[in-house]
Point group: D4
Chain length 208, copies 8
């Protein structure tokens, strides 16, 4: 791995002890570290041994920012409701650690579409747009129709009944009537940000 | 049944002969007649014996308008794409025969949202709004958020792959982030119009 | 928002603190307030800071009735069994706060159909009927066939095994052999009442 | 096999030639013969070689009644709509060939529940009741609540959209709020009649 | 209700207090009482006030046997494994309270088919056979092929992974290659026994 | 590829012309050739150009046996019904071309379990057993319980309604209460035979 | 629309006449035209009136290349099998018309992984990689793990049985263990190419 | 059962007391004993009475190795990630107790395919290969394409969202583009090992 390129650990289903072990094994490398899906209790147990990891409760992440690359370009993260926040912040923290500037545009769901319109100029400055939505995911199609950039859609598991734990916005996003949208797994804020970062860096760094 | 109130026959899975039989049995009643889901070939066979029935190919309906009640109030029928036309016209023909004025607002899907905005004043004049959409059905939530009237949503089977023959817009509509939306079966233009007509007539006729 | 028109907060997945914050932000507006999906413990935490909110355990709602509009018209809420009560009362509390008279007709499932027949005259006085049912949802079709008013059906998650957490009555309601039925999400008492209120007020107030 | 007890051949997916072969192999036994799921064309090919088989187009069956046992007891077959006829007649033909009297009560779906009530005395004379319904299958629960006999429910594939080819009435029947209902596969008129015949004969013949 | 005919209360989702209330309301009737789906803790709370109800932990039932009718005929209850016991005993307790003799044949799954064969003579003495199975439910077809009596099949939720909480044995039972099988909801021991009792009593009591 | 080891072409979705092209490209290799899923019409078009390929209509295969290895060991192919024949013969033809002796034991479904018992000694001589079944697939568990050899189960798409095009026997086989069973895709006779051949040859040839 | 930017018509479910109408309406604009999902017969009918449209049978597209922008950058299109060709060519034709250089790497599925390895240097020259696969879609994860570029995955409907018309590779792609993969609808070659083009042009043209 | 052949108890859903009872009943037989799916707490309760059973926390098994047969042949167990460890060790412990040598090749998922390649020589020494994978299960196809031995695939429930608790890798494995793969239930490490052991012993012991 290149210097400065983050190491990522998927914290769900790992004990604090296992996480500590993995982090210690990579400690000497000159890389930032990101642990996702860590709840408050587990994070405390990890921090006791590794106080250099900072915990963020909204995104449920543990992060060591040392050696992080400078932020370039711009990724917009757009959410429908406040309950999509955990996923949105997982994406935001990831994107920032991978060296991207992030524009947060939260709580602009289509039930009150004027809020989205007010933010359009901001969104349009980004190279890539991540749209995060639970419920029926309609925000994705509206943003996709208004913005001339690749949209990475993240369905969230926020909902009940026929929401089917996120299958409904997932299916909705895959069938969007707007072109230019691709989709990642339910609640996969990390995956969306990783993808967006790849595109953003292609734009910023790799043109011959 | 009251004079002028239409008799409806569900034509799918019935032979031309069976349809003729049912129509003849009710012929003496002073009521308009609507037969839904009749393809071109079957309609021709019916019309040979019952030339007073008019066939409309888009909506796949056979209609006898004699004795129909005068149209009152207003129902808006809004569709996302041109391929939702068959269902939309099934709804429109039904609504008209049940004595409602119909405003057609077709092909205003959210991929080009300005087309919808241009039509908003028109839609807002209706007592009830029927929204018909295939793909991901996002139009429903956008209309629901912009219009202060009951919205009856009809998912259509237009799409492919994960569209699952209409399950995707159905699920999307049931989970809409806009309040005031209720849903009928996939492609059920008749059911939506019947419902809308009931509401429209309540408003127009039955206030004590 | 118009004076007297309620503000609604979806309480599920929000902390007591978040709910308090949102309520305080809207406190100065002359509007009633409704918070749905609040359990006993969370309600206590909210009431400590906002004692003017009344908690109702059956419907799991917190309500501030100040500024509520006077009740007009009539909405009937019909349930199949006693276990559908939480959803029914969510609908009832919502309808009342939005200015509607509510007729409760509970526990009239089709296993003992005479109970339903005894209540028919009462139900028929309503402008709109909300039918709430778990199990197989058959009550919806029976009511729809007997009553000449729009029926809004709410499937509930009450059942086991092939009930699939409410998918069975949902599918049943969408395929009803009675016309005039539209459907909202599983357990969505609020949505049904919002819709019914819209229709009831159209009838009562808005005829030109 | 006992003399007079029918041999049954499932005709779907077999060629006319294969059916002829199987029938000829059992020709010498003193038993009636029933071939189910045979379309008009295939039946003609079979009858050319085996003219003693009678074809019934509604039930899609080929039958040789010679040696059939006398009919005893009574099985009621109740259907919701005319489109459930094929399945109902498959059940009726089966029940008759297995030596049962059959009472047909067709087209009494719950959208017009008075038709069912008019037939209740007739239905109550049966030892077993077969209820056949497509759409949402609500008829099953209503009959089950009104009749004190075992009810065997047959969901049919008649419907569209969320009907899911019969899964909706199947799920509905399995979750009936009326006790005393058991269910067979979608469109399985034969299976319901076989079961009902077993019960009817237990009642009529086998008490020691 | 006839004297001696049990009253049944579905205990799941009811509080001890609600159960007590319902039982007290029917206390004066000369009928046995059955409460299903009651766990140990809830049963203790009920028994404190109503010590005349006996609790059985395996079947999770509370029963008052006073006024029960004498047992007639014979119902066989056959299970595949020991983990199907809760459902089997719910069926057995129900059948006994409704006045039926019960033959328990447990743990005879097809992985060791000789155990089933050893019990066949016993099973064949019953008027009706209830087969209860989780896993793939293959026992149902084997019993159905060997026994000339109506078989009521109960899929159980015992299994993991693709067992899908009982959908797998349910589907398996609905598609059995043996005739004479009908199916009730997953884990519905009560429903199977109610059905079986109806058939058993038809045989024993009602022949003119 | 080793001399004598067959080349396999999946014929579904390929034109006769494409199949001819692929066969001609491999014509010079000293290998037998197997083309699966070829219907009668397509086979005729292929044979016009490549008359050395023999067509078998039951298994829907085209085969060139030249250079085939001698048959060793023994694979039993057991089916529940005659309608599983196409899949069974696809497996048999494959197994034979890959150098295995095949014992066909067809039409021994559990509805008449004595037929299976009569064939047990024959089945037990095989090194591997392929069980092919539609309907509910119960045969797999019964064979698995009686035979001390690896069983490869193939669900078939033969059935209707809740059979779900083979998903029901697939799920049933994956949840078998007998150990020693593994499963391949619906209708995948080729895959089962390829697997069985691998095992049979391990036994026969590769012990050091 | 900008000069040179293609107009796209979704041809499925449109008649030749409708397609002609839409093309003629946009004929005067200085833009290339792409019609997708057009079968041979329909294309002939369109070409009779509009001979300037070129038909490509593999991709099922009609194209007017006049005014197309020059191709820049590089998009790799990688497929697992030859049967994924239709979707792959829909993607390729789209990408080319939108002004991208395309590298086709076909038939490199993981059953013979050396074929993929031989092509890696070629694939790595692209700015974006489109991976198209039916069956189990494993190719996506392998490519994603080997290539440091955004991967857009397209599941295809090529398969049978549990393939579920493409749901299996879709689910597989959404759960890929390789980061950097996003997914579009089943068979949506157009959508993947549109996305890829957007990214490729961002890289090539829009860096400030 | 033969001397030395293990007795297996499925511990899930059994109390410590029930497990003790079953073990004591078989205690005198000269056979090793394996109890699967036992958590730490339950194991402690069992060991208090039966200290001769050894508990292994990773595999969640209790084992009595006395009388175990000597290990022969070789089974490779290959996993994609560390979170598949519980299932892998359930398979390993089972295989060893049934008298097989086991080669563990863990954490070689396709996201870093070089790790798998490094281990290929080791894997190729086995008679059978068990591949255990969650996520999208792509490892199965890659191993199947590289190794000329029967592969038994075990999908695991490790994942989230569209992983559907293991259905995704299950479907993926059933549709593998590599031949020679058969599949067992989700998380069924025991079943895979039992199967593999049967094959391995066929190879090692039973050639005439
Ligand atoms: N296109 C349609 N979709 C759904 N329901 C319909 C449709 N057309 C008619 N119906 C309903 O079917 C009833 C007539 O059914 P039938 O007696 O089978 O002709 C009407 O009263 C309507 O309630
Ligand atoms: N375990 C059970 N499973 C299914 N239905 C039951 C069960 N126990 C009771 N019932 C049914 O539920 C009815 C009582 O429901 P409730 O009025 O809610 O207590 C009874 O008359 C039975 O028909
Ligand atoms: N009937 C079949 N079902 C499943 N897979 C098959 C079948 N026939 C052939 N195959 C597989 O498909 C491969 C050939 O695929 P293709 O290159 O598309 O012809 C063979 O090597 C087999 O692994
Ligand atoms: N093969 C395709 N799959 C999915 N979407 C397509 C395809 N071809 C065209 N489209 C989309 O459909 C739109 C045109 O739809 P229409 O107006 O119905 O012709 C285009 O702008 C594309 O976004
Ligand atoms: Mg866009
Ligand atoms: Mg609105
Ligand atoms: Mg009505
Ligand atoms: Mg009854
Ligand atoms: Mg039988
Ligand atoms: Mg065995
Ligand atoms: Mg990569
Ligand atoms: Mg291999």
């Amino acid at each position: 791995q290149r210097t400065g390129y983050p190491e990522v650990i998927y914290g769900a289903g790992k004990t604090a002890q296992q996480i500590v072990g993995i982090v210690q094994a990579m400690e000497k490398r000159q890389q930032p570290i990101l642990v996702t899906r860590v709840d408050l209790e587990k994070s405390a147990a990890v921090q006791e041994i590794l106080p250099e990891l900072a915990y963020d409760q909204t995104s449920q992440t543990l992060v060591r920012t040392a050696h992080a690359l400078p932020a370039v370009g711009n990724i917009a993260i757009v959410t429908a409701g406040t309950s999509d926040m955990r996923v949105a912040e997982e994406a935001a923290v990831t994107a920032e650690l991978f060296g991207n500037q992030v524009t947060r545009v939260y709580d602009v769901g289509v039930a009150g579409i004027h809020r989205l319109f007010a933010k359009l100029p901001l969104i349009r400055q980004a190279n890539v747009v991540i749209v995060i939505a639970g419920m029926e995911g309609a925000l994705t199609s509206v943003v996709g129709g208004l913005v001339d950039r690749p949209v990475i859609a993240v369905p969230t598991s926020v909902g009940y009944g026929t929401h089917l734990n996120g299958l409904t916005p997932l299916l909705s996003m895959l069938n969007s009537c707007s072109a230019g949208i691709s989709v990642v797994n339910i609640d996969n804020g990390f995956g969306a940000a990783y993808n967006a970062s790849m595109i953003n860096h292609l734009v910023k760094e790799e043109r011959p």
